[in-house]
């Protein structure tokens, strides 16, 4: 048989192994997998077509979930007047330190005619901030849209680019500019706003688990980790293979903070004037980084079938033109029958590359299923089917192949999730002393479930000493009497600590 396990010798691109350098492994996957590239602008990335195709699949699934829950899309300005940021005290504190500031609106040719320089005549009266998030500019619009309870709720989402001047960046996980969606809703009552904030948290969790195959813990942030301007921040927290946590999405109950800041009032059913209640919620291209880190291996990306731009690749194994012609015919039939089932298929009969090279290349790209067809397969009415998640191969009859493949894609989706879930479950460790906490954090990683006295002081001390932060207080967290691992003070529940991206 020609079908051999991929030989790393013939791979065009070698990947650093996870155990040698996890960080470099990740970068190799992103760059060599063709997902993204560095750019000429500090901290900004280029999302290449293969990476962007994953984002398009994420967007499409999320957008449908948002619309199914009653939201509409809209678009608000990129720029925020500087003074708007200051209107909400906590908000400006959180975002003023890391923003891009537009001060001028024109360039001109320099005196020596050799370059262009900022035209000092074109200075803005008030500087504009490139949005680090859009609460302020949006609530300024809501002010003119809301008069009465009849104008509520407003359920708006926008897909946009965002800029936060990060000092240390990492492709997809933390970049100066990133793509995201931000929902901004306005409600007549506290309860309704709180219900919205938790509803969207559940939408995010469902997306992470069912589409990305990434189990997440739903929880609430401690005061210190709260969004700047929120009364409560809900989050989904994922765990990746090096034992670090990733905040994958957040949903904020904003109370009446932004309504107060922008003077957005409404007349309620009882004909009384009140401030409007708000939520905001967002997920970003950081989800792609989470996806990569959660599932991939030393051979490359492992993509869940539901988000894989190409779900099945077919590779012919032919020794000569005549064989290739026969295989082409069969492969195109298989391709059509799979496409009829809504499966995305690539047939790669490019003769400039050897099958072994292609096998390695498509493993690198994380394509869930590879079908190889050689002359013997034609005789036997079969093909070789290889799974990316387990790297296992089997000979499968052509009869009913499309059903087999459709079922297998579903199985891979489930298996990826189950594997990540098992890993996550193994990495939630109850700890009862600070020594044990520090030891396990270094040796095992993952979430440390520990008693905490509820103070920011303790939280910051632990962060300073161990780099671990409180990722969340899980929803429906059981009450349990105990003592704070750090201060020894009484505590009523365990919270989850971890080092995080």
């Amino acid at each position: 048989m020609n079908q051999q396990a991929p030989n790393k010798e013939i791979t065009s691109k070698s990947i650093t192994r996870r155990e040698d350098d996890y960080s470099q492994w990740y970068n190799d996957l992103v760059i060599k997998g063709g997902l993204a590239d560095y750019s000429a602008v500090r901290g900004c990335m280029v999302i290449r077509p293969y990476g962007f195709a994953i984002w398009e699949k994420m967007q499409s699934a999320l957008d449908k979930m948002f619309k199914d829950t009653g939201h509409s899309n809209a678009y608000f300005p990129l720029f925020i007047p500087k003074s708007f940021l200051s209107r909400e005290a906590a908000h400006v504190e959180g975002f003023a330190k890391e923003c891009a500031v537009v001060t001028h609106y024109r360039l001109k040719t320099s005196a020596d005619g050799k370059e262009v320089v900022v035209d000092p005549e074109a200075k803005l009266e008030e500087e504009l901030i490139v949005r680090p998030t859009s609460e302020t500019i949006i609530w300024n619009s809501y002010k003119s849209w809301i008069r009465s309870y009849r104008d509520l709720p407003i359920l708006i989402n926008q897909w946009a680019n965002i800029v936060r001047w990060e000092m240390r960046t990492r492709l997809f996980l933390r970049t100066t500019e990133f793509l995201w969606q931000e929902g901004h809703t306005a409600h007549a009552t506290r309860d309704e706003a709180m219900e919205e904030a938790t509803k969207m948290l559940h939408v995010y969790a469902q997306f992470a688990e069912e589409w990305m195959g990434v189990p997440v813990i739903k929880g609430v942030k401690s005061a210190n980790e709260r969004f700047a301007g929120a009364e409560e921040t809900f989050c989904i927290e994922a765990l990746v293979q090096d034992g670090k946590a990733i905040q994958a999405g957040t949903s904020h109950f904003l109370g009446q903070n932004f309504a107060r800041a922008f003077d957005v009032t409404f007349t309620n059913k009882e004909n009384q004037v009140d401030f409007v209640w708000a939520t905001s919620w967002g997920v970003s291209t950081r989800l792609i980084g989470t996806l990569i880190m959660a599932h991939s291996d030393d051979n490359g990306l492992v993509l869940p079938p539901k988000l894989a731009p190409i779900q099945v690749v077919i590779v012919p194994i032919a020794k000569n033109e005549e064989q290739l012609k026969l295989i082409d015919e069969k492969a195109l039939l298989i391709k059509s029958s799979l496409e009829a089932k809504g499966i995305t298929v690539k047939y790669d009969n490019d003769d400039k590359q050897k099958p072994g090279w292609k096998f390695a290349e498509y493993e690198m790209k994380g394509i869930p299923i590879r079908i190889a067809i050689g002359p013997r397969d034609l005789q036997n009415n079969s093909v070789e089917v290889a799974r990316r998640d387990t790297l296992s191969k089997s000979i499968v009859s052509l009869d009913g192949l499309s059903e087999t493949v459709a079922g297998l894609l579903e199985e891979i989706q489930q298996n990826i999730y189950a594997r990540a879930l098992a890993f996550r479950e193994q990495h939630i460790t109850p700890v009862d002393s600070y020594d044990q906490f520090k030891k396990l954090l270094d040796e095992k990683g993952g979430f440390m479930s520990a008693h905490w006295d509820g103070t920011t002081e303790t939280e910051l001390a632990i962060k300073e000493e161990t780099k671990a932060t409180i990722r969340c207080i899980p929803l429906n967290n059981p009450n349990e009497e105990g003592k704070c691992i750090y201060s020894g003070k009484p505590s009523k529940q365990r919270v989850l600590f971890a080092r995080a991206y």
Copy 2:
């Protein structure tokens, strides 16, 4: 019968008539139709959900056309280092005058603690320009992606926001920030790049005509109107009801200009090193402005069914609860049968508004078909169907209603196009003297088809004196000996002049 022609007295929002103030009529449609709103940032607009839903439909249709012609989406940084702009001489000349410049990356609290101010310590070494178009940042990436002819062509599109510091803005048609798509392709030969540029021009024309119902003239720009950095700019030009032209889309053959500027070379099949050939092409949210101006009337928007967020609205006409209940039942059946045909339907049984108010409201919103159902209709197994394009009404049997409506939507789509085409055809006027040119430009408007001596000098003089510009030299323009209307010098063809948005 309760079904009466909409009474303007009961309309919640009155619209300025076109003949009274065309510009105000347009603004009324945009604002009162709920398409967009002004924002707190000079020249930047908020695209509201109804307007954004039109953009989503445009995006979806265009995106499919781009993918069907082999393109993939990607995403490049929002910011462009200032020095990049200067690399291509014509490009910087065209864009440096109207750009937003980021000079700092941090704010800080002022000395008096009362506000935030730009932190002078956080000055960028090199200023960043908010992209006015992305050729430079993209070709800087292409440099590292292209080595050999095997890496070509690169066929990439991005959906993005763009900033050009416009002094005079108009909702959708000219805003400081706007949304668009920009295709950027790289090719091994001049012919292939030229073929790409014209292919995308045809894609744009097809979209404008088949989806927007807006006939366009395909042509090439004069040197003076060319994109800054292009060797040839192709365009589609639309005409709207006040006789002004709108440039609705452009496709540029960039030659090797950007490859030279960013030193992007490749090894061709003959093993020689050459510069890469380029195109770029874009359409923007300006298309929404074009759509509105092309078809709408004094009652409000007229939307082509293919781009209407809601294609059919059903309004019950009931005198009491009991009647409403019976109508509800029937209306929901109709809604399902229409939706089964892929038609988007809204059933508005909100009892807080009268039917007359609703009729006027949905006329304002441009919903192509309105179905009204009263108690008598139930008895007669019929409904009243009103067309937005002609404002005509007819009684239609419930038997086969969904087929009737589907056919009618198609008919409306065709009729809107035919009407705009007839208007356009009546407004291309051959003129043979400058006096006639000026007179007809004022009195009739539209395109003046006139001889021109081919010089920028003449073009600019005519623009200065009449505000008319050369919109394009139509593709496949017939040769015709004549004399320039301005200079009297010999000319070999007529070109199209118009005043334009």
